[in-house]
């Protein structure tokens, strides 16, 4: 299980491969579910130029650890990885990676969905978008 908060751009598929190589489940996994969330250049009908992601250092990691442990208790998974960006971002930049490994596909699908939904609804991150005519905090997650 690994949680990473990154203040610079990252390549999510490299992160999956690197973690998979170093983790101790070689030969045991038959399924890998990978979710990548990326920054759009539009939101609520407006063009978005760039975005700043803020978090609550300490609580964010604690919360992501909590949901990772919950997922491991609820489903028969081998391991999980969550990487999330903070700081300045541009359209197309990856924001979040959730990867889950399991012997069979159902647990990996279900646990990765659970991690993403819990992250979106409760993990303390906030987005501020820069539009052509000023800045705004994103008010709610879609």
């Amino acid at each position: 299980m690994l949680i990473e908060i990154k203040d610079h751009s990252f390549e999510p598929y490299d992160s999956v491969l690197e973690y998979q190589k170093s983790a101790g489940f070689s030969g045991k996994y038959g399924a890998t579910a990978v979710f990548v969330g990326s920054m759009r250049d539009f939101n609520e009908g407006d063009d978005v130029q760039n975005m700043r992601l803020e978090h609550y250092p300490g609580m964010t990691e604690k919360y992501l650890e909590k949901i990772s442990k919950e997922a491991a208790a609820k489903w028969d998974i081998l391991d999980s990885l969550i990487v999330h960006r903070v700081g300045e971002m541009l359209p197309n930049d990856p924001i979040v990676l959730v990867a889950v490994w399991s012997a069979h596909r159902a647990a990996a699908f279900d646990a990765s969905r659970y991690l993403m939904e819990e992250l979106k609804s409760r993990a303390p991150f906030w987005k501020k978008e820069a539009l052509t005519d000023g800045e705004r905090w994103v008010a709610k997650n879609t």
């Binding site: 609550y56 609580m59 906030w126 008010a139 997650n141």
Partner: protein, 80 residues
């Protein structure tokens, strides 16, 4: 001697709304998270949907506060 304080943090739009990121108040002046909000913001109205945490765990406004605690106020989250 260490002062018996409570650390208060504000994040994102709420930080801009109250005009400060972090402050300290005397623990003896407050009993609950709701009281921490009022004292640290000079009685500002608590915006609807504000989320609250004590020592980095979600709590409700009537949760008790003790010396050394870190209390945080922030708007609905928008990560992912």
């Amino acid at each position: 001697m260490t002062k018996a304080v409570v650390t208060v943090k504000f994040f994102a739009s709420l930080r801009e709304h109250v005009g400060q990121a972090e402050t300290e108040i005397l623990a003896s002046d407050v009993q609950t998270v709701a009281a921490v909000w009022l004292l640290s913001t000079n009685d500002m109205a608590l915006p609807e949907n504000t989320l609250m945490a004590v020592n980095m765990e979600y709590v409700d406004a009537d949760y008790p506060v003790r010396q050394g605690d870190e209390v945080a106020f922030f708007p609905p989250v928008t990560g992912g």
